[in-house]
Each structure stands twice: as structure tokens, then as C-alpha cells.
Symmetry: C2
Amino acid sequence: MWKKLGNRKKSVVSEKKKEVLESLGKLGLKIYSQLNNGHFPSIQMPSRSTENIYYNPEVRQFILGDKRVRRSARNIRHIRPFTQLVWTALFSSELTSQRKTSTLRDVYYSAQAYEMKFKDQQESNNIITDLETVLGLSREDFSIFPEERSAVFGDLTIEYTVPGYEGRTLNLTSHPDGVMIGPALTSSEFVETTADKVIAIEKGGLFTRFVEENVHKKFNAILVLTAGQAPRATRHFIRRLNKELELPAFIFTDGDPWGMHIAMVVISGSANAAHLRDLTTPDAKWSGVWASDIVNYKLPTDPLEDVDIKRLHELKRDPRYKNKLWQREIKTFLDIRRKAEQEAFSRYGLTYIVDEYLPAKLEETS
Amino acid sequence: MWKKLGNRKKSVVSEKKKEVLESLGKLGLKIYSQLNNGHFPSIQMPSRSTENIYYNPEVRQFILGDKRVRRSARNIRHIRPFTQLVWTALFSSELTSQRKTSTLRDVYYSAQAYEMKFKDQQESNNIITDLETVLGLSREDFSIFPEERSAVFGDLTIEYTVPGYEGRTLNLTSHPDGVMIGPALTSSEFVETTADKVIAIEKGGLFTRFVEENVHKKFNAILVLTAGQAPRATRHFIRRLNKELELPAFIFTDGDPWGMHIAMVVISGSANAAHLRDLTTPDAKWSGVWASDIVNYKLPTDPLEDVDIKRLHELKRDPRYKNKLWQREIKTFLDIRRKAEQEAFSRYGLTYIVDEYLPAKLEETS
């Protein structure tokens, strides 16, 4: 099955970029017209304080409630963060329209080129999150990217939109070590694919094993390496594969509370990102390694440590973990008091995980 | 200048693979013939104990001295590590001839498929290092790779040797987020390049900036991201660029003792790898951020912490740091008591580092 994506789908990224520049422009115009009318400029945004963060079972992620905060240049204590926010919007607009990218750290230092002051990087990070909240867009949309890079491999052809590469395409099987998910890949359009699913994997060694064993062909899959906790750009990328290409997504992690939570953050996001919408894949499935897999497959294990057990009790109360599967697996972990790594399947030979475990679990969680 | 590499150069990797399989075969034959002659089999190798590790100024790295250890099946205390070593050699030979790859962790679990026991992963890691020492080859040579991945970008065409990709080529400018340095890239042959230097960079954000600002074109450079401390595969890759292509290498890190040491490990390796030869690039230059750059460029800084100062005093006594430049920079750090990150140049605008700092430092360290 060769799926060629229509033109409607192809313009997702350029539409987004237009939206970003329009939002930034609107914000600037609003401030300008307030000033023009002789008013102190002010900005309103949803509050991100803990008591305004709720889990919403319908959208299956944390969201912000109705409380709003107002920053006004009239208030002497607001002048500093207000000015910082406006500068950050200016800088983001410059980055985006010049098609350059930056990082959180870089924004902090760049401020000095404009004689804008931040006490420390924490302060500038906070203001960038404020701008996300005001615009309802994530910082990657306005060209501020994380340092971390994960990877993807599989039959998907993308078309670049970054300067110097516009219109050039790349098939994501072209490099068997995996294609890095950085600003260029994140901002590319999807052109065509034969894949019918996405398989996300926590560990680099296993990702390479899957490529070597042709999992992408045998299972018609696009393979995504999360490299531990998935960077936000990678979570957004998995969401795009799921929404734009309508591919179901399956997530394989270590069999411990930290692996579980890597899957959960891909699925339902984090409380820190309650002000954002485009980072979650609520229909993605955690396919393993479950606590019950540890039992059923008689895997080599390590004992749970105190910190693991404490974490399991936290997850048990977490609204994202409410459904039956998660509760059952948390309970099983607490019963067996053991954990196992993905590589543990190698006890049955290097390809057992691909030949036996993977097809069984894909079927079980489909 | 378009440099097409001759056939002599092109077979570097396949020669290496032949050497690895021959070495493993020879080891097996030796043990077999000892058994055949009615002797308890034994293996000799250089000792890796601290008192047998010396810095050698000629090869400009740590090396092992003349002390040797002997593992004999006659000695009851040796039987376990001897058997583990032989199994590891068998497993490595299987991996290499089947052209699969593995990781340290995977080897640990795989042992169980052969009813071979390791107490913990530390024990199996040690045995893998024993095998490196016996063969004088690094574990990547016999198909055991690290999890971490860094990246490369620039005009170099490589030819894959991994199964399914044999003979296929890739130009390393084909993905602007950088091409991952994993098993497939590491085992590829170099075909052609127009580059005349290598620039290694510590941080992902800056690597992306360099790509966006066309540093590879403006400076005819192959850009390598070390992503913090360079993984061994990346150190080996930089060495190959330097030795096979005869490209000078320049390393840019943060301006602090940890950044310095990232450069030093690329240049002169570590004491842990004293039994290996192919991981260093002794002619590579640390081009910045120097302590004196912090002064000359008036960079935004943070104070050195106690742990930084302690580290500087250690480096001061380290034989790898003996030459004038390193000693001068250590002294300057201790005088100014400040450190600076690579991104600090953004205080002069996003492209200052590329337009001003980079050309000045390349000239200074050429």
C-alpha cells in the first residue's frame, strides 16, 4: 500500500508558520494600539499556578482552568516581566521570519545583545513559557528548540521547508542509524508513506536492533527512538504521525515506573505543558514492557528500589493513570517488586524480541 | 577542490573487519590447540591495573606498560573469567560475521541465552574490556556499540557496508539536523569530500546554528557534534577524518574545565582506554572557548564553583595537560575564577560566533 498524501495534508507546516507570525503580529498590534490610545499596555493569559491545572478526561491531558493573570505596564512590579515578554515576542518573531532557530540557553544570552536583562536562565525560561501561554503555541513553533535529539527510521518521505533545502525530499530509510529529529525534520512536510503504524522505542540499542532486523518492513512501521524521556519535538512529531497520517502508535519502554511514565508523557503530556495542546498522542498505546510481561515471559529482573516504589505510589494516584490497564500494571509491579529492562529479552536470543514479543504485543494492544 | 579518494583508502573498513574476524579466529585456534596438546588453556594480556598505565608523550596518550596477566583454566579462580572471556569472543565473532550489532547491556542479557553467567553488568563490561585488551581492538570493532549517538554534517560522501545498504552512498549534507553517528555510519567507507577541515562542537544548539549559518560551506568544514563528552564511536570517527582524509581537526567547547576535558579526550583519550590505539586524534586542536577568550571577548560568565576549581587543579597535574597552552589556560581560569558557555557569544548577536570568533580562532590555532 503506497499512500500518497494529498495537497491538503502537505501544507500543515507552512500553515502553522503563518499562524505563528500572525499571532506574534497580533500581540504586537494590541500593545501598540493600547499605547496609541493613551493606555498602559497590558497582557492577559491563563494562570499556570498549580491550583489552576486540571486533568481533563475528554482531551486526556492536563489543561489550565479559568483563572487568568494580567500583566500591566501600569504596575511597577509588572514592568520588568512585561518588557521581557514583549522582547521575547520580538526575538521570536525575528527568528521565525529570518528562519533561524535558537535554544532556551541561547535566548538567555541573546537578550544581552538587545540590552534586555534576565537575572538567570530560569527567569528567561519562565518568560518563554509565558509567551507559549499567551499565544497557545509551543516554543518550537516560534523557533526555540531543545538541545536533545532523538531519531526516526522508516518509509516516510518528507519535504524540507528550511532555507537552502526547500522542496528537497528525504526518505527516512536513507540512514540506517536513524534520521535525527531536529528543527529541520520537525518543520518538514509529510509527502508519502507506506507505513501503517508507528513504533516508539525508549533505548538506542534496541532501536538499532529493530532497524537491523527490518522491523520497519516486517511490520510496516515508522520507528521512533525516544532516547529516554522523549524531547518535546519528538512528542510533537509522534503526534503528527498519528494525526496527519492517521497511524496508530505503540510505545515500548523498560518495564519499570520510569519507562511507564515515558510512555505516559508521549500519550498524555505533563502538567508543565498544561497550557499547550499539540504535544500529546492520546490514542497511543503503551505496549510494554508491562509488569505482567515480566511474569509471563520470565524475564531476568532487578528488585524495585525504594525510589521505584515511591514513584509507583505517586503514579497510582495520578489522574492520567486512572484506567484499568495502568492500575493493573502498577499493582503488578508492587506485587512482584521487580523490574526489567527492554534488553532482558536477549536472554532468549537477540531476535526473540522482534520475532515473538513484538508481534504478540502489537496484537494485544491494537 | 573536489577530493575523490582512491581505492586504497576506500577499503579501510572492510580491511578492519577482516582483521577482527582473523584475530578472533586466532584466539580460538590458540585455545583449541592448547586443549588439543593436553594443556590447560590460558590467555595472556597486558595488565590494566593503575600502576601499569603510563602517559606516553610520543604517541600522546596513556598506554599500558610491560606487566602482563595470565588467565589459566588450571587456576580454579580463573576458570570463571576465562570461560566468560571465551564466550564473549564467541558472541562477538557471531555478531560480527552475522553483521549484527549489540550494546554492553545487551551482551549482559544475551549471555543467559547461552547459559553463561555474569553476576551483574559490571562483570560483563569488564570481560568485554579484557577482550579489547587481548585483541588490541575496541569493542565497536567487534560490533558492541554505545547507546549514545552524536552527529555529523558536511560535504563528505560515505558508502555503507551494513547489510541491505552495501554500496549505497549518502552525502552528509543530506539532512540539515545532522547525520547520526551510529553503527552504520561508523562502518561506512569514505568516498569523496571537498572539505579541508573538521570542526567539532560540544553543544547541539550551536551545531544547528553552524549548519544554519553554512559554516560547512564558508569554512569548507565537516561539522561534528560531540553532544557533551564524545562517545567512543565519535572519537574514532574524528580520528578517521583526520587520518584517512588528512583533515586538521578543531574542537570548540564551553569555556570551563569540563569543556577543556571534552577536547582533551578527543585529542589524547582517557586512562580507561590505555589498551586501545584508534580512539585519539593527537593533532586535533582545542580552539576555544579558552579562559583567555573570556577575557578578550568580555563574555558573560558564571563564577567557578568549588568542584570546577578542584577539577582545574587535577588537570594541572595531568600529564596530558603538560604543554604551554593548556597550562596557561588552566592558570587563567584559576586567576579569573570565571567560566563561560559557548552560547555566551550570542550577547553580540546570533551570528557573531560564526562571523568573528570562529575565523579568528581557526587562524590562531592552525
